[in-house]
Structure formats: C-alpha cells, structure tokens
C-alpha cells in the first residue's frame, strides 16, 4: 500500500484504496462473527456447557442468525429521546473503531497506511468512540443509560493515560511510534520481544487495554447486574449491533496492538522458524491474546467504580511512569 500512499491521488488509486478498505472490512466482519462464536464456545466449555451448537454445523452459523435477527428487528426510538443524537451515536461509535485498523501491519508489506505516529493515531481516534457512548447514554433519555455513559467517559479518560504511558517505554527503545518499525526492532529470538524488557509496561498495557475495551473485570459501563445494559439499554436492532460491532472491532485492534507492540508482531519466536510465513505467527499471537480476553471474562468478578479509578490513577499510572524511568536508565547504561 505504501507505494500508492506516496504517489499522487488518481481515480485508479482511489479505487484501490476503496477495495482495500472493503477487504479490511470483510476480514473484520468475519473476525467479529467468529470471535463471538468462539467466545461463546470457550466460555461455554469453561462452564461445562456446549455453547452454540444448533445453527449450522457445530453452531457455526449462530452469529449469522443473530445478525439476521437483529436486522429484521423493529427499530425503536423512545419518544422522549433526542432523535438526532440517538441515531448519530451508533455510527459515531463504529466509524473510528474501523478507522483505527488502517495502521495495523499484519506483515512487513501488509499494511494499509504506514503512519509515523501510528500508536498516537489509534489513541486519538479511539477517544471518539467514548464521545459516542456518552451521546448514546444522554440521547436515550434513560437514567440507566446515562449512568452507563458517564461511567464510560470517566473510565476511558482515566485509562487512556496509563495506556499511552505504558508504551512510552517501547517508543523509547525503538525511537519511533511507527508500528512497523517497532516490530522490526523486535527481530531475533523471543527474548528480544518487548514483553520481557518492558515487562512492567506490558502488564500496565494489558490491564489498561482490557479496561479500554470495557470487558470483564472492567465492564462497568454495561454492568448487567447494576445498570441492566448500561448506555445501550434503549437501543435495539441494528443500532445495537453497531455498538456490539464497535466493541469487538476494538478487541480486534487491541489484540493486534498487543501483538505488535509487545509480542514481536510477525516475527517467529526463533529465527530458525523463519520458513513459516509471518502472517501465521501474527495470527497465532493474535489468537492467544483474544483467548486471554475470553478467559478472564469467564473467571473474574467486576470491579467497583471507585476501585476502578483508584487502580488507574494510584497503581497503573505510577507504574507506567516508573517503567519510563527504568527504561531511560537502561538505555543510558546499556545503550
């Protein structure tokens, strides 16, 4: 893609960009479809259940059927809701989630946009989704939705700070925010991957990322047992599906980022295993991260709002700053 990116825009290039975008969208939609299936299966197995197994062979068409159901569902908008904002919010939540995928390199030459400020781009755009969630909570004119939206705003603002801080160490070691260069810097044996030298940063990143995703144990904005469904309590049909879609695409993006920033991207754990294509390694690491997210969802209880804020500001942020300090010392001493 880089070649087209640097040359002047023509109709042909625009067409290629469009096709590329559609291809990424297709990959992501397939991922979301089967991530939901996989999540339900994995959690089912962890709970001595079968998970979906009726729709299609092995239940593989379950999510397809669910989406079809959402499509033909009546689209309800509460009478007292703020119509314009209510309609706008799902789109506003989904669009940035899809945009952030542009920067993710799946292999050395497999990337949509090679930005120098890669990670910053992710943070900037994912913040927009928070606004969408607050809008959704506000526009629904429902108290539970409002509480969910507020919680979401507080949570995302708190956790974006340690999230950014946690990768400063990586950026210092690489000297770049460009995701492709960060991966190239991790070439070699698996102990050259960032997760070992940046172990504190890695831990902070994982915790903050799970929180950014609003997943257990940080799923407070949609805490079912307290707020029923949180910010999307009034949404039904495909508007609801858009929120779900955005959530799972962010999971996709975070799993990719974890792989790229800390797990060596497409690099094999041993250079001798180079004959296996990088995309396979990337997919394996990616799948492991996604599995980890499902695993903790089946295991952990939920934190309380005040504890959540305390964790972000009192534990994660100081740890991230300590990590930056230690990294600076390390670079100074061992170059």
């Amino acid at each position: 893609m880089q070649h087209y990116w640097n040359s002047p825009v023509t109709w042909g290039h625009a067409g290629i960009f469009l096709l590329g975008a559609i291809a990424v969208l297709a990959v992501v939609i397939v991922f979301v479809t089967y991530a939901i299936y996989f999540e339900r299966k994995v959690i089912g197995w962890m709970q001595f259940r079968q998970g979906p197994n009726r729709t299609g062979p092995l239940g593989l068409l379950q999510t397809v059927a669910d989406v079809a159901k959402l499509l033909i569902k009546e689209d309800t908008i509460p009478t007292r809701a703020d119509r314009a904002l209510f309609v706008l919010a799902p789109a506003l939540a989904f669009v940035p989630s899809f945009l952030v995928l542009a920067i993710i390199p799946y292999g050395l030459h497999l990337q949509f946009a090679d930005l120098n400020v890669g990670f910053l781009y992710y943070i900037a755009l994912s913040g927009v989704t928070t606004i969408a969630i607050v809008i959704a909570g506000w526009a629904s004119n429902n108290k539970y939705a409002l509480l969910g939206g507020m919680r979401s705003a507080a949570q995302m603002i708190s956790y974006e700070v340690p999230l950014v801080m946690s990768i400063v160490g990586v950026a210092m070691m690489t000297g770049s925010l460009n995701l492709r260069e960060i991966v190239l810097h991790q070439e070699g044996y698996f102990w050259h991957w960032n997760f070992l030298p940046q172990i504190i940063g890695f831990a902070v990143f994982v915790v903050a990322a799970v929180s950014e995703l609003n997943r257990t144990p940080f799923d407070l904005p949609e805490a079912e047992s307290e707020l029923v469904a949180g910010y999307h309590v009034e949404y039904s049909g495909f508007r609801f599906a858009f929120f779900m879609l955005a959530e799972y695409i962010y999971m996709y993006a975070i799993a990719c980022l974890t792989t790229l920033l800390f797990l060596g991207g497409w690099n094999p754990p041993f250079p001798q295993l180079d004959f296996i294509p990088g995309l396979v390694w990337f997919a394996l690491k990616f799948a492991a991260v996604v599995f980890f997210l499902f695993w903790i969802r089946a295991t952990l209880p939920r934190l309380r709002v005040d504890q959540l804020m305390g964790l972000a500001w009192k534990a994660l942020l100081p740890l991230a700053i300590l990590n930056i300090f230690l990294t600076a010392l390390g670079i100074e001493w061992w170059g």
Partner: protein, 366 residues
Amino acid sequence: MIRTEELLLNVGPQHPSTHGVFRIIVKLDGEIITEATPVMGYLHRGTEKLAEQLNFTQIIPYTDRMDYVSAMTNNYVLVHAVEKLMGIEVPERAEFLRLIVMELQRVASHLVWWGTYLLDIGALSPFLYAFNDRERILQLFNELCGARLTYNYMRVGGVKWDAPEGWIDKVKEFVRSMHGKLAEYDKLASGNEILLSRLKGVGAYDAETAIAYGLSGANLRSAGVKWDLRKNEPYSLYDRFEFDVPVGTNGDCYDRYLIRLEEIRQSLRILEQALEQFPAGGETMGKVPRVIRPPAGEIYVRIESPRGEIGCYLVSKGKAEPYRLKFRRPSFVNLQILPKLLVGESMTNLVTILGGIDIVLGEVDC
C-alpha cells in the same frame, strides 16, 4: 443555568439483580444513594388467608411456594407446628428422611445464593458451577418425591414417600463429591482479590443493630452472634449430630459469604452422620387421625431455614382448618435493614448488599 439535581432511580421490579419482583426507589447524588425506599408486594398471594379455608394437608403445597428455593424447610415448619400442637409422634425413619432432605435443601439453597451472588458481582462462571451441583440435589429430590422445586414431601406425622432403593447411597456419593467441589470453589472465588475488595467492609453492621432489626441466619451470625436454632433450640434430630455454627466478626458482606460457604460444609458434616445412622427399616408415617383436627389452642414453632429463622404461628379452634396461620418469614424480616444499609453507598454496592442479605421474593411477599 447549570444546576445539579438528585436523580430518582427506579430499580426493579424488573431488574436482573433484584432476584425476582422486588422494587427499590433510590435517590442518587451522582452514584451515591441518599435515600432508598423498598417497595414490596408484587408477589403477594395471600397464603396465610388462603390457609384458613384449607385443611392442613392442603396447606403444605402452599408452603412450598413461599421460599421456593428452600421448600423442604417450609414444609417442615408447618407440619412441625401441627405435630407439636397435636402431640403426634413421628417415626424415626421419617424424621431421618426429613432431616436429610432439609440439610440437602440447605446445601442447594446456599449454592443458588453463591452462584447468583457472584453473578451479581460480575463473575459469570460460578453461577453455572453452582447450578450444576444443585441440579444433582434436585435429581435426588426428584427420585424421592417426584418434584424438583415444590416438593409437597412432608405430611403431618411423617413423610409421603419412603426413600427408594439405593437412594441413601446416592446421597452419600453426592456428599463425598461435594466436599471436593467446595474446595475448588474456594480456590476459584473466595480468595480473589477483586472479590475481597468488593465485599470486605461493605454493608457492615454490629451485633446490636442486627438484633434490633430482628435479623437471623447468616445475616445475624456475620455480626458475631452465635445463634442457630439447630443448636440453641434443637428440633428434629439435630441434637444427635455434631456440627459447628460459623460466626463472623465484622458483619460485612464478606463474612456473610464465608459463613454461607462454611454452612454448606457443616451441612455436609451433618449429612454424613445422618446417613451413617440412617435406620434400616421402619415406618414413614406415624399414627395420625384420618382428619387432622388439632385441639383448640395456639402454638409458635421456629426452625433454622437457610435464610434464617422461619416461624409458624398456628391458632386452632379444634377444626380441620386453622383459625389463623402466620408465618415469620426470614427474608421479609432480614430485608428491613436494607434502607439503613444503603444510605451513602454507591449503586454498585446496592447490588452487593441486597444480594448479601439473600432474599427470596416468594417468601418476602408470601
């Protein structure tokens, strides 16, 4: 102009964490509760009034539907009252069967509580594990009396059905495996850092307050009051068995959590002894007149249900129907402390505290 306003939030009667049709209106300042007003009665069926038109055998199924998570203890409190008023001797085998089903019921009831409570707190899996084990108890009950939830098992003077062949061995097998399961559950949940931070110090009260509000069961014992009717006023055969009464020290939700888990262990201990001593033969029904007419008079009996002290006040005028029947329902009494506990807590703690009280709405509204 910008101004702040208190938020009036209606929680329930259809809310996933009110465990049924309970409703509570809370005034919120941010996420902090400044006032809480419980609204009850959505499941009121007038059991006590209905009972005045029914003879005693007909009332038993109604007691099943009060605390439907623990129907066996409800059965017992009614038949126990009638038996005591009439002075009926219950055969030993029947009494053993009653005790075994009551203790199995306690285990089942606490398992439901454990699973749903952790679900309230946000952990999904324990719910499934708990219901898996409870299912095995329900299967045992199903074999014994053909019902899974509303058993209608006990009768004045004994029990309706004798244990089928091999049933006692199946219960023994269950008790054996349940010990291992409990250890697993402890490992999974009880020491979890998030769980500790969610439960410790939440909804705490002292022994004086607990007694003043008439709390009973684990709610009372969590505040450090050692009061269990199975020990303090032994009924049935409880004086024959060895078991401990776990008590807490802080009166918070975590103590209640630990006490209920420990009570499962103690129930298993009682079951082990009862199954060992189970008489090989004998009647399951005592000598009971064809029409049960308690002599004129009144009586109050109370027993330890999984939720606390369940009492039955019976006034008889010598007829086949009671003149007045009144149940002291522990869920209803324990719930009264809720508005006091909720003031100053967050919405999240509302769920934690309400769940910690362990109510069953069928019993609250009766």
